[in-house]
């Protein structure tokens, strides 16, 4: 469609340039901040020209935050959450959409309600569960009197224990226990024409083959989108990793937690200068992996969202 609208085109470019500027300016200032010395960055004026201390600051942030190991932890956790979520959501949505069984609606609502309470507000009891993931089951056995019964009959006292603290499992599982992805998949499956299943049946495909060979290829973009979203979500997590990884010396924690510790706050005791330059350098390092992922995945990511949102 060729239209001659030079003025309007100019306006469009202007909008896009301003938009790009708004995106760029904060990122640029962070970058500049990361190149200055403590003294420079704390002088009260606007810094928009880079200094010459970028590598020093990056090194300082890297060393002080022990970022090498932390980034690895973040990466493993985020990959775990993203993969787990993609698989779990697909399975659950498949079960909910393509099968009829008693209690299906109840299960649906049970999963659905998890969207409504963020992890931050139930964090203390969640910690107790992470410290022993079998605590709920132990309690149910205790309350139902089964523990006593079994002990009476066999002489064995049941003490279920599964400690998830300081482990990737512990970081990942509570973050997977929400419904986000399930609904993306459910919506997608609902839009798949019924004819597909008929065709698959004619092909002699059972549920597993239908899921793997028919539905999965169709939902590739969904998967990419969900994967990216969940990766970012997990990478962003702050409060849960802070709590779930008390063993800082051994297991360590995630990069984002460490980044927060680099930043000066009111409650940081013992004084010390707010070395924004190192904090900004830390920002750069921690920001990089998700940016790369999005740049790399963008094609799928944007298209996936188009598909999921419909």
């Amino acid at each position: 469609m060729i239209e001659r609208t030079p003025l309007l085109n100019l306006a469009t470019y202007a909008v896009m340039f301003i938009g790009a500027l708004v995106v760029f300016v904060p990122l640029w200032l962070v970058f500049v901040g990361a190149t200055l010395t403590v003294r420079e960055i704390n002088t009260p004026e606007l810094h928009y020209i880079t200094g010459s201390h970028l590598f020093e600051n990056l090194q300082a942030a890297w060393a002080r935050g022990n970022l090498g190991g932390r980034l690895l932890n973040s990466l493993i956790m985020s990959l775990g959450v993203a993969t787990g979520k993609v698989v779990m959501s697909a399975l659950t949505a498949f079960g909910l959409v393509y099968f009829r069984f008693p209690g299906r609606m109840l299960a649906f609502w049970l999963i659905f309600i998890t969207l409504m309470l963020p992890l931050e507000v139930r964090i203390v009891p969640t910690y107790a569960v992470a410290a022993n993931a079998l605590w709920p089951f132990q309690s149910m056995l205790d309350v139902s009197g089964l523990t006593g019964l079994i002990q009476m009959l066999s002489g064995i006292q049941i003490g279920l224990e599964w400690n998830l603290l300081n482990s990737y499992t512990g970081l990942v599982l509570p973050l997977i226990a929400t419904a986000t992805g399930t609904f993306l998949y459910r919506q997608f499956f609902l839009t798949v024409p019924d004819e597909l299943l008929e065709a698959a049946r004619m092909d002699g495909a059972g549920p597993f083959r239908f899921l793997v060979e028919f539905l999965m290829p169709l939902s590739r973009t969904n998967m990419a989108a969900l994967f990216t979203i969940m990766f970012l979500y997990a990478w962003n997590q702050y409060l849960w990793p802070l709590l779930a990884t008390p063993d800082r010396a051994g297991f360590g924690t995630t990069a984002v937690v460490e980044l927060k510790l680099l930043a000066p706050t009111v409650s940081t005791n013992g004084g010390g200068t707010p070395d924004w330059n190192v904090a900004m350098a830390g920002c750069l390092i921690v920001m990089l992996p998700p940016l790369l992922l999005v740049a790399f995945m963008q094609r799928y990511f944007v298209r996936g969202l188009i598909a999921t949102e419909k």
Binding site: G19, I111, F112, M116, V121, C283, L293, V302
Partner: protein, 294 residues
């Protein structure tokens, strides 16, 4: 909304959802149940006995002006961030959707903020907005009252709204662009043949056609703003100055986790959950209807 064609083995369907049910039970319902119990008792942080007090904790929070303040602030935050980020996202999406030469590069840039981790963005904006070291430093030197988020609650609120919207606008952009590009080209071409100019088409055809997406984003962004604001508030303002940026989730976190008032925080969690339920229910109904029509 139901599928007509299904598999007959019901038990297998149950097997498919079992892992998720187990996970949700262990890491959501059990902890949430514990928190609910606390809301009706006075829980001691170090454990060791608690007392059933019925609705006392709820009565207390509803009698507290600071709590209502945090509800109002949360709503204000939700409304402002929704308006800002959606307006900005929509504008950029419409611009990109024109498909002018080189728009792909802009599209890539506009998605970036979504990929910037929230604490890093918050840290960056805190630095940018620090009155004595940031972008306004020279202005503040001349006019000290011009910008002072450390003391002026409105400035602090503006700061977290801008930071949050900057990030969230990218998310809105993705959705709006997707919706715009999903409009069949033939519809637009037909209108162009009728002599409708570019702007006219935007207002008469494209925007009306994406109203569903618009409402969807509105609800999503409100519920998201309740949940995702925590990291930004925690990094940028600690809820201050005064209580000027104390949003609901941050208040729950502070009262319960730092102030050790587990029961008061648990009661607040339940109220938050009810608010979210109403909003999500609305959203759910809405999404269902859309799926139905498409």
């Amino acid at each position: 909304m139901e599928k007509r064609a299904t598999f007959s083995m019901g038990w297998l369907g149950f097997a498919f959802i079992l892992p998720q049910i187990l996970l949700v039970f262990t890491f959501f319902y059990w902890p949430t149940g514990a928190a609910m119990y606390w809301a009706f008792t006075l829980e001691r942080p170090w454990g060791g006995g608690n007392e059933w007090v019925g609705f006392d904790n709820f009565r207390q929070i509803f009698a507290d002006r600071a709590y209502w303040g945090s509800i109002i602030r949360s709503l204000m935050f939700a409304a402002s961030t929704a308006i800002l980020s959606m307006a900005f996202g929509l504008l950029l999406a419409v611009a990109c959707d024109r498909g002018l030469k080189g728009y792909q590069a802009f599209r890539t840039i506009f998605v970036w903020p979504y990929a910037v981790v929230a604490p890093a963005a918050a840290l960056a904006f805190r630095f940018i907005f620090a009155p004595e070291a940031g972008i306004f430093a020279s202005l503040v030197k001349a006019y000290p009252e011009f910008w002072n988020p450390a003391q002026n609650g409105y400035h602090a609120m503006a700061m977290i709204i801008i930071c949050y919207s900057w990030k969230y606008a990218a998310y809105c952009f993705i959705f709006f662009l997707a919706a715009l590009q999903a409009i069949p080209r033939s519809v637009i071409e037909a209108s162009a043949l009728d002599g409708a100019g570019v702007l006219r088409r935007v207002f008469d055809i494209q925007l009306p056609l994406i109203t569903p997406t618009f409402f969807f984003m509105l609800v999503i962004s409100i519920t998201d703003s309740f949940q995702d604001s925590f990291g930004i508030v925690d990094v940028m303002t600690d809820g201050g100055p005064g209580k000027a940026t104390e949003l609901l989730v941050y208040k729950i976190y502070f009262d319960g986790f730092r102030g050790l008032d587990y029961s008061g925080a648990a009661a607040q969690s339940i109220v938050l959950m009810l608010i979210m339920m109403v909003l999500t229910f609305f959203q759910f109904r809405y999404i269902e209807r859309r799926v139905h029509y498409s």
